[in-house]
């Protein structure tokens, strides 16, 4: 982020009224913002985005502007604070809907009704608008009012059932997984497709994106097999049908680092032959138990024991280098601090460090895809809560300073 570029971007001029919160909504609209859209987040201090409250923040800090969780997902947006539950506040919210090309929310149906942003209201106010609604299970059906977060949806959509070993409880993958890529990027693709349709025909539309449907779509292998007459799915830990050996293996202890794992995948018979060469064992190369993928899958416990024993005596970086030198897919199980310092990501300038007036220069995840000419990139930090209330009231809503002042005094604006 040494030099912020001023190149044009694909969504320059696109106006987004953003009533999202938490992860699955804000990350979608962040992608739009980092592609050039003017994204205005409507927030309230009465009921702020839970991620503004959440950790991590600097030790002892409680400011709504210091959460790394929130800030990472809201780079380059503007923030206006309006109490939408007041009549005048609701009117101002609807004015933003009229201004926008896209209205986006991932709130529950109930919360949407409370703030008066149902699709009916939004479309009435602005018939040409694109409405992205991302409730957990879609806008129709017996479960349309149900609510949850990514960790809960992960249980419902199959993450927990599919991940881990068969003899362990289905704990999931340790995060609100579906919130971070699957749901927001499906949503971003859908919005951009709708933008194209709108640009070509003038027609807006409703995007009813059930996070359940989006998530299942992104991990449907076992469901598709089940639906078409295959035997029940078996949870297989770190194994896959298309490679063996395949998994994470504990490496030697280095310094204070006792827990260092190496992931590897022998996807082809050639990978396996190369692995036996790296291990220096012609015996293994000739071992009939391991010759083909089918052989190796049938003897996978033995195979994994042999590989484990070999990696156990090496340092993780050495193991990765040796395996990769032989052309075998391999990598270290990195901790977040190691990912932040990853030399490859550094050379690619993945992380952005935009300047935030309260939080300073903190790391933000970079763009998930790159465009060569009209870049997808982070050009600014997340907004303070209500940071742009005044300027949006003046320049977007066309209010006079006196009115803005009195609305603030009445706490309709903050």
């Amino acid at each position: 982020m040494s030099n912020v570029s001023t190149k044009p971007r694909p969504l320059d001029g696109l106006k987004v009224c953003d009533a999202t919160w938490y992860g699955a909504g804000p990350i979608a609209t962040r992608a739009l913002a980092n592609l050039g859209a003017d994204v205005i987040r409507i927030e309230t201090e009465k009921r702020p985005d839970g991620l503004r409250i959440a950790q991590p923040k600097p030790e002892g800090e409680e400011s709504l502007n210091q959460s790394g969780y929130y800030n990472n997902f809201n780079a380059e947006k503007r923030s206006i604070t309006i109490d939408l539950t007041t009549e005048r506040g609701h009117e101002l919210g609807i004015e933003l809907v009229k201004w926008a090309d896209v209205f986006a929310t991932n709130m529950t149906a109930r919360a949407i009704r409370q703030i008066g942003f149902t699709w009916e209201n939004v479309q009435t106010a602005n018939p040409g608008i694109i409405g992205l609604y991302e409730p957990m299970q879609g806008m129709t059906g017996p479960h349309s009012e149900f609510q949850g977060f990514g960790a809960l949806l992960s249980a419902i959509c199959g993450v927990n059932y599919l991940a881990g070993d068969d003899n362990e409880p289905p704990i999931g993958v340790g995060t609100n997984y579906t919130d971070y890529v699957i749901n927001p990027i499906h949503a971003a693709v859908a919005v951009m497709a709708a933008v194209r349709h709108k640009r070509r025909t003038g027609e807006g539309q409703l995007i009813d994106m059930s996070q359940l449907e989006s998530s299942v779509s992104g991990m449907a292998g076992a469901l598709f097999a089940w639906d078409n007459g295959q035997t029940p799915y078996q949870r297989t830990g770190n194994r896959v049908p298309y490679a063996a050996p395949h998994g994470a293996f504990l490496a030697n202890e280095v310094g204070d680092r006792a827990d260092h794992w190496v992931a590897l995948a022998c996807m082809t018979d050639d990978h396996w032959v190369s692995l036996t060469e790296v291990m220096g064992s012609t015996e293994l190369a000739l071992d009939p138990r391991f010759r083909t993928l089918e052989d190796r899958k049938s003897n996978e416990d033995n195979l994994d024991n042999i590989v484990s024993g070999w990696i156990r005596d090496m340092n993780a970086p050495d193991a990765m280098n040796k395996l990769q030198s032989a052309g075998i897919p391999a990598g270290m199980v990195q901790k977040a601090s190691e990912v932040l310092r990853d030399p490859h990501l550094a050379a690619r300038e993945f992380y952005a460090y935009p300047d935030h007036s309260e939080a300073g220069k903190r790391a933000y995840d970079g763009a998930g895809f790159r465009l060569s000419e009209t870049p997808h990139e982070i050009r600014g930090a997340a907004p303070l809560i209500g940071e742009h209330t005044w300027e949006i009231c003046e320049s977007v809503l066309g209010l006079q300073p006196e009115e803005i002042g009195s609305l603030m005094a009445e706490q309709i604006l903050y």
Binding site: P8, G50, Q55, P56, G68, Q137, P142, H143, F149, A151, L153, A155, G158, N160, Y161, A163, P169, P170, I171, G172, G174, T175, Y177, I185, H186, A190, M192, A193, R200, L206, S210, E213, S214, S217, G218, M219, G221, F224, A225, P232, Y233, G237, V240, Y242, H246, A248, A263, K335, A336, S337, V339, L345, R362, G366, G368, F369, R370, S372, E373, T374
Partner: protein
């Protein structure tokens, strides 16, 4: 019905990590043609296999990721194959591929060269590590990206191995970003005429899925570790929060002071089901402690107060024993539906069977039946990830048989029947 990408022609030469992108773009109406080497894409042979079907047409992973696409075979390494490929590119808006820079150069298709010959082409690359940087030429796989991206370190039990995410999530995240990049590039080309390259690294596409681990390392200098699913982003185990055994399976609950009806709602659910455990939890010491931590701000303050946490962690643990006992007595569907009606965040741990029979998914007619005459059956496919009201998702054809559209595609760019015969005899198609 209108479609968003009905005028867009796409050639899909990606490795399996990019297949889902072409699937999404086909759902948006693009004409997507999978270009495979004459022996077929490797994922055609991946288990599970459709029964009573020739192996090359039976791989269910291939079917799922390539339904809706046309398919041709072409050896683009061979001289004649390359010529044919260039002819196809003239009619193409978007090229999806997984070549490293070295591979692209060796083929004569490096990005500069392609840009020169096809100024309107959107050339979209998806690889494990991206096209440049010190690891760019390293080998990759789904699990290697999960490992290097830090997400695997968060998944699993504290004492156990880091655990991969299910069903090739690296592939899916890479493909999602590829599809997003392609649609963004199409929007740019529409408005300014600028065609450009899209680049996706599977490794990078997963980094957002570290949740707060990256920021926790950056802001607090602390690495989040795997916790066996007990605490995650909250950092402590709250009663009512996490995985619980139900009478007939598992439920995941967030019935603590984070959102929804919270712990008070959980007691209401117990009342509703006539369970006296609620009465126990309304006694001290539980009542006052649970009341104090009934909102997220209080919970997060607790995280910064280790002394207070130590004081009450026994109360939390004892309350959780009671909550655990409650969940064990009831079927997961009842806990889910009755709980959600009370605005309690409870969900069942669903497997393929439950999803297949899901009242909600079936009410919304989500699943799609695709007639697949080449494989002699109808197949039930998942629905689209979104419902676009004015431009509905399209699933117009089964997954291609190997080389199914060779004749149609090659004759459309001017090859004659004898050309096709020669290419076939030389093993090019």
């Amino acid at each position: 019905m209108a479609s968003a990408l009905g005028d867009i022609k796409i050639l899909d030469l990606t490795d399996p990590l990019g297949h889902y992108a072409g699937y999404l773009l086909a759902n948006l109406g693009a004409e997507v043609t999978k270009v495979e080497p004459p022996g077929g894409d490797p994922s055609r042979r991946w288990e599970p296999l459709l029964p009573d079907t020739p192996e090359i047409e039976a791989g269910m992973q291939f079917l799922l990721m390539n339904v809706g696409k046309k398919g041709i075979t072409l050896d683009i390494r061979a001289h004649e194959g390359k010529d044919t490929f260039l002819k196809l590119l003239e009619e193409t808006d978007v090229l999806l591929q997984s070549w490293s820079r070295e591979e692209a150069s060796a083929l004569g298709f490096d990005s500069t060269e392609l840009r020169k010959q096809f100024p309107n082409l959107i050339n979209a690359s998806v690889t494990g590590w991206g096209l440049y940087g010190p690891y760019a030429s390293l080998a990759y796989s789904d699990i290697v990206s999960l490992a290097m991206a830090g997400v695997m370190n968060l998944s699993g039990f504290a004492e156990g191995p880091p655990t991969q995410l299910p069903d090739n999530q690296g592939f899916h995240c890479a493909s999602l970003n590829l599809a997003a990049g392609v649609v963004a590039a199409i929007l740019e080309r529409d408005s300014s005429g600028i065609a450009q390259d899209v680049e996706v690294s599977m490794h990078e596409s997963l980094l957002m899925a570290e949740e707060t681990a990256m920021q926790t390392a950056d802001i607090r200098g602390i690495d989040r570790e795997r916790t066996g699913g007990t605490s995650g982003v909250i950092g402590i185990k709250l009663p009512g929060m996490g995985l619980y055994s139900a009478e007939d399976g598992w439920v995941y609950a967030m019935a603590a002071g984070i959102a929804g009806a919270g712990f008070a709602g959980l007691l209401e659910l117990m009342d509703l089901l006539g369970d006296s455990i609620a009465d126990e939890l309304r006694q001290e010491p539980y009542a006052s402690v649970m009341a104090e931590f009934s909102n997220s701000a209080a919970v997060f303050r607790l995280l910064g107060d280790p002394e207070k946490l130590k004081e009450i962690e026994d109360v939390f643990a004892e309350a959780d024993v009671l909550v655990t006992r409650f969940f064990q007595k009831y079927p997961k569907e009842q806990l889910y539906v009755e709980g959600q009606k009370l605005r309690l965040l409870i969900g069942p741990v669903n497997g393929p069977k439950e999803l297949s029979e899901s009242e909600q998914l079936n009410y919304r007619n989500w699943f799609r039946t695709v007639s697949d005459p080449g494989r002699g059956r109808e197949l039930r496919y998942p629905g689209a990830p979104w419902q676009l009201e004015a431009t509905p998702a399209i699933l117009s054809r089964p997954a291609p048989l190997l080389g199914e559209h060779n004749e149609e595609m090659f004759t459309s760019v001017g090859l004659t029947e004898s050309d096709l015969k020669a290419l076939s005899e030389n093993g090019v198609i």
